[in-house]
């Protein structure tokens, strides 16, 4: 039996949106430390964090039908919202959201079924690394 | 006879060997058309555009080497608006409802509306400053602030819409008569109309107050309209007009409900024929699918109730409001058909063409592109009969039209589509072909000697739809109904000179901070924001 199966997985509903930190972060420049810290993060309900057996700032992998991405864990200040995770808009969130617009022009960016799992082996990519990896350009 | 044109004006004569000559023999030559009331630009019009993609889809303008693309039908995009007016031989259009707070928007759109000269009327009838100053009887203070507002918004005339209504609509209410007090302000529509009429005189504005009456669109409202005209009778001086009742058709309903609704045109015409302080425009209805939009919020909500169509409402803080509802006028509906009849009855029963002007209150009664059809009705009994045959039986029974034989001749037509408007607006260089006038001309390919408008109304309609030539400020801009040269067109506004120019007082700033959510310094529109600004200076009496 494989290590992966020992790892707890959490089925959640993924929300993306604006945060004040992301707002101020982007004002420091899209390639700044602050921006990276403010958007490469997965905000979770404290109980979910415990359930997953990780701590704040640990590394997790969030996966949807459309891809998966490595993020830093943060306990969300405002809870409870068990089973709901929040990732601020940005290059990280965009890698795993649903492009389907259902003929409206608007992709599906909120309330997406997703899976969170600890990824001790994973490492947070810097923005340029992330972009090169996924877009083979730049 | 010859008409000589030199750098944008009509002159005595020019050197024919050097001049470009247009042979207009066998054609009708008129001054460029002037529209006194047509919603062509601003937040309200644009909200209507946004609301109706289905209206645009069926009527598009393709880009050419010299013209921009766009869409119609009832609320054309800005470029298309300019082109279509120009093709009909119109060179001046008045944009009648400008929310002061959003005036910057109106002027941005006018900058993108080519081919025609234009101006806008700021909505001042429910502005808190006006309500408070008039309530306290401070006419001169009121006038000073109106002067400031005209300059700040680059406005041309005082527009009053359902006085007191928009303020009451702030909490979902309305005023029911011209003596119905406005909640929280203890002032009546009568006070507002009389007050602003006095202000208008103090400021020597070129146009009178421009009034959309209370109770518009309600059966029985012709009474309100008569009262509104009467209430400023004593304020008229040396037989000059003191009030303009706009799109009068919508304010000339008799009857106690929709079932008994009839025409009140006769009574209104009788009054207007015996008084000289009033001018009107028709607000003619044409049977088509159009979009209604006014600053009369409560009326538009009622219209939503009647039709169940999609409804837009937009309240503007401390100033006014607006509403929009798509609307289809059907000849089978007795109400719609009666409305159609009322507009023409007014135009035909009012003897003096200098007192009533041709409008459809674009787009409320119909898109302005229907003017040629309205002209053909004014000029031909046969054309009118043809429609009467096909309208609702009830409306036909009540219509006065079958007994009206009057047919406009070309002179009367020229008056109700240009000369009269220009006079009412105080635009001295427009509406005529005298020496010194703006060289704005329309040449229509119809020979008055050979064509009998009464029978050949089809020819008339075609001719007025596609001008043979439109000349704007001395340049040929339209030939055979097609744009041959795009021009910008100017924007007029009144620059009111007070004996003691009003300095923004601490009180004004204080009120500003309280009344609006924008900074005082960001409110006025700098003149350079207008691409072709033409201030008209007037000396106020204060």
């Amino acid at each position: 039996m494989q290590l992966g199966e020992l790892m707890p997985k959490l089925k959640v509903s993924l929300l993306t949106g604006r945060t004040i930190d992301q707002g101020t972060g982007r004002e420091r420049g899209k390639f700044s430390e602050e921006y990276e810290r403010s958007v490469a993060v997965c905000q979770m309900d404290p109980d979910d964090v415990r359930l997953l057996g990780v701590r704040e700032n640990d590394i997790v992998r969030v996966s949807t039908d459309f891809g998966s991405v490595i993020l830093r864990v943060a306990k969300s200040a405002r809870n409870p919202h068990p089973g709901v995770i929040f990732i601020p808009y940005g290059p990280w969130a965009s890698l795993i959201v649903d492009p389907e617009t259902h003929g409206t022009g608007m992709p599906s960016l909120k309330g997406l079924p997703a899976e969170v799992e600890p990824a001790p082996e994973g490492s947070l990519l810097s923005l340029p690394e992330l972009l090169r990896k996924h877009f083979k350009k730049g | 006879m010859d008409i000589a044109i030199s750098n944008g004006r009509i002159v005595e004569k020019v050197d024919e060997r050097k001049a470009e000559v247009i042979d207009a023999s066998g054609m009708v030559v008129m001054a460029g058309g002037v529209d006194i009331h047509s919603h062509i630009a601003g937040s309200e019009v644009n909200a209507g555009r946004l609301l109706r993609p289905e209206d645009h889809r069926k009527d598009v303008e393709v880009k050419t080497a010299i013209t921009r693309s766009g869409v119609g039908y009832s609320i054309p995009s800005t470029f298309t608006t300019g082109y279509r007016y120009s093709r009909m031989g119109y060179t001046t259009v008045m944009n009648p409802s400008m929310p002061p707070l959003e005036a910057r928007h109106t002027h941005e759109e006018l900058n993108d509306t080519p081919m025609i000269d234009k101006a806008s009327y700021p909505l001042l009838g429910d502005w808190w400053f006006v309500l408070e100053y008039l309530r306290d009887g401070l006419i001169e203070e009121c006038a000073a602030h109106v002067a400031w507002m005209m300059r700040a918004t680059k406005g041309y005339a005082i527009k009053i819409v359902n006085p007191g209504g928009p303020e009451s609509w702030g909490f979902g209410g309305n005023v029911e008569s011209i003596d119905d007090p406005v909640p929280y302000f203890n002032i009546t529509p009568r006070d507002i109309i009389r007050g602003l009429c006095k202000v208008n005189r103090l400021l020597n504005l070129p146009h009178t107050i421009h009034v959309h009456t209370n109770n518009l669109g309600k059966p029985g409202n012709y009474i309100t309209t008569l009262e509104t005209m009467r209430c400023v009778e004593d304020l008229a001086t040396e037989g000059k007009p003191a009030i303009h009742i706009t799109h009068c058709q919508f304010s000339a309903f008799k009857g106690s409900d929709w079932r008994t609704m009839k025409s009140g045109a006769e009574d209104i015409a009788k009054y207007v024929n015996s008084h000289n302080h009033v001018t009107l425009d028709m607000g003619q209805v044409v049977f088509t699918d159009t979009t209604t939009m006014t600053a009369d919020g409560p009326f538009q909500y009622r219209l939503y109730g009647l039709t169940g169509n999609k409804w837009v409402n937009h309240d503007v803080e401390t100033e006014t409001c607006a509403g929009i509802v798509p609307f289809r006028y059907s000849r089978r509906s007795s109400v719609h058909a009666t409305q159609w009849s009322i507009g023409l009855e007014l135009a035909l029963l009012i003897k003096d063409p200098w007192k009533i002007y041709l409008t459809t209150d674009h787009p409320n009664g119909a898109p302005f592109t229907k003017y040629p059809q309205v002209i053909s009705w004014l000029m031909s009994r046969v054309a009118r009969k043809k429609v009467i045959k096909r309208i609702s039986r009830r409306a036909r029974r009540n219509s006065l039209l079958p007994n009206i034989d009057r047919e406009y001749d070309f002179y009367e037509t020229a008056i109700v589509t240009r000369a009269g408007e220009a006079k009412a607006l105080g635009l001295k260089q427009k509406g005529h072909l005298g020496v010194g006038a703006n060289a704005d001309l329309a040449i229509y390919n119809v020979n008055p000697r050979l064509v009998d408008p009464s029978k050949e109304y089809g020819t008339i309609r075609k001719a007025f739809s596609r001008a043979a030539y439109t000349i704007k400020s001395g340049e040929i801009v339209v030939k055979d109904g097609e744009i041959v040269r795009p021009v910008q067109g100017r924007t007029f506004w009144v620059d009111i000179k007070l004996s003691s120019p009003m300095e923004p007082t601490e009180e004004l700033r204080w009120k500003f901070r309280k009344y609006w959510t924008v900074e005082f310094e960001n409110y006025p529109i700098p003149e350079d924001h207008l691409t072709a600004s033409v201030p008209i200076t007037v000396e106020a009496r204060i």
Partner: protein, 478 residues
């Protein structure tokens, strides 16, 4: 030192125009009245800039002259059979006007960022209509404020203070002290402290206001606030009612409310995780108010149902006008996304997703909207201005975007410019360049120029005009 006052803040849809900025030899040294994000914009905009035009040559972005960058851009657009011109929400209306002319000239598809924020709201406005207003109307009159799927405290930090709960108007009192007293417990007080800092911890200007005792205010009841969201947001904590809706169930909740305000029975005891009793109470509050306003955000436009969620919200508000005065307003994100819609609409008749490929404007989101075009791999070139689609579009769309030639006009480096083939640095509109922009409630305000841009950074307007001119030259036009 020269302080520029009444500066509109070119960041969010609130577009506050009371900012005071201190400039010392062309550098912003101090900002007053702005929120955290606004202050950051004014203080940091100069820090991270791309100063020289770039063109990608064998895989690498290399510095080139502006003329070369303009010429290359023009070539790319002129050669394209189906180019995209995207962005427009963080630049001036003047720039958008030129952009539309350029799109028409090259027969492209022009779209603005509302396509991924309030596009769905616009779609349903076109089906239902909307009962709305300017923000001052609410400051003066609103006694019931809904925030549905929007969190102003994070996205529009000064909204509550300037326009709703904590503002004071002719008929309404500020709800400040009620808010203070309504909170108990150390934890909440801590949170409150953070909230207060966020609101008032800013450096404030404006001298104490001189009361003139004018017959002005006629206070009536205070305001109530209702928050509907999937998370207990910071805004939710200040609310009189908080409805925590199950993710993707807003539509059911809204439709149920439409029945409840008509006093009709539901066959169910719970809707979207909210007990019907509570909904009935809220429905009564809605009918009972004098003027209600429902602000909605991306929580509604992006979750399942998209424009149909807005259908329900717009219809609910429309229905409520039978009983009282009720208004609704989308919380727009970028400071000029409303302006982009406005200019698009007056020039083409349509607010976004406009296709000029056949020489006249056509509009059909889902067909002519940029995400769909990219996902179908239909475009063969793109110009992106003042926007960062690579960071904010779903992966497949972004990949398709960078696959064909990409022109980026932006004052600062972004993930999108990082992927571009031509990069043209521009002046920061509203700081280094003037213009016009529209607040979320359609109130137009001037954008101000408070510092001189670098010689190499032209305004968006100039850059676009030069590209347009170049395109026309290539086509032998005037």
């Amino acid at each position: 030192m020269p302080a520029v006052s009444h500066v509109p803040c070119p960041v969010c849809g609130d577009f506050c125009d009371d900012i005071e900025v201190t400039v010392e030899d062309n550098v912003v040294t101090d900002v007053k009245n702005a929120c955290a994000v606004g202050a950051a914009r004014f203080l940091n905009f100069a820090g991270h800039r791309q100063m020289k035009p770039l063109i990608r040559k064998n895989g690498e972005l290399v510095e080139v002259s502006l003329d070369e960058a303009i010429r290359r851009s023009a070539e790319i657009l002129a050669d394209a059979a189906y180019p995209i011109l995207y962005g427009w929400s963080s630049t001036s209306c003047e720039a958008t006007r030129v952009g539309l002319e350029l799109a028409e000239e090259v027969g492209g598809v022009i779209d603005n960022t509302s396509t991924i924020c309030h596009g769905p709201s616009i779609l349903s406005i076109q089906d239902i209509g909307i009962s709305s207003c300017t923000l001052g109307q609410l400051r003066h009159r609103a006694d019931l404020v809904f925030y549905w799927g929007s969190n102003p405290w994070s996205a529009h930090p000064r909204h509550i203070e300037r326009y709703t709960m904590f503002s004071e108007g002719r008929f309404r009192q500020s709800a400040w002290e009620k808010y203070l007293s309504s909170l108990g417990g150390i934890l909440t007080r801590k949170r409150l402290q953070r909230a207060v800092n966020l609101l008032l911890g800013r450096r404030l200007s404006s001298p104490p206001e001189v009361e003139q005792g004018l017959p002005y205010t006629m206070f009536q009841k205070k305001r109530k606030m209702v928050v509907v969201d999937v998370r207990r947001t910071r805004t939710a904590e200040a609310a009189d009612y908080f409805l925590q809706v199950k993710p993707n169930n807003d539509y059911e909740l809204l439709q149920a409310l439409r029945m409840l305000i008509r006093d009709e029975e539901l066959d169910v005891d719970e809707v979207a995780g909210v007990p019907v009793e509570l909904l009935e109470e809220v429905a009564d509050v809605m009918i009972g108010c004098e003027l209600g306003i429902l602000f909605f955000g991306l929580g509604l436009t992006m979750s399942e149902g998209k424009h149909r969620n807005i259908d329900a919200a717009l219809s609910l508000v429309r229905d409520l006008n039978q009983y009282t005065k009720f208004l609704i307003m989308p919380m727009r994100g970028h400071f000029n996304v409303t302006g982009a819609n406005v200019v698009f609409t007056w020039q083409t008749g349509y607010p976004f997703a406009v296709d000029f490929s056949r020489g006249f404007p056509r509009y059909n989101p889902g067909e002519t909207s940029v995400i769909d075009i990219l996902c179908r791999e239909e475009s063969d070139a793109a110009l992106v201005i003042a926007s960062d689609p690579v960071a904010h579009f779903p992966k497949t769309a972004a990949q398709s975007l960078v696959r064909s030639p990409l022109i980026v006009i932006d004052p600062e480096p972004t993930p999108t410019s990082f992927m571009a083939d031509v990069v043209i640095p521009s002046a920061f509109v509203g700081i280094e360049a003037e213009g016009t922009a529209y607040r979320m409630d359609h109130v137009p305000l001037p954008l101000k120029k408070i510092v001189e841009p670098a010689k190499t950074c032209l305004s968006d307007v100039e850059i676009l005009q030069r590209i347009l001119h170049e395109v026309r030259k290539m086509r032998g036009g005037p």
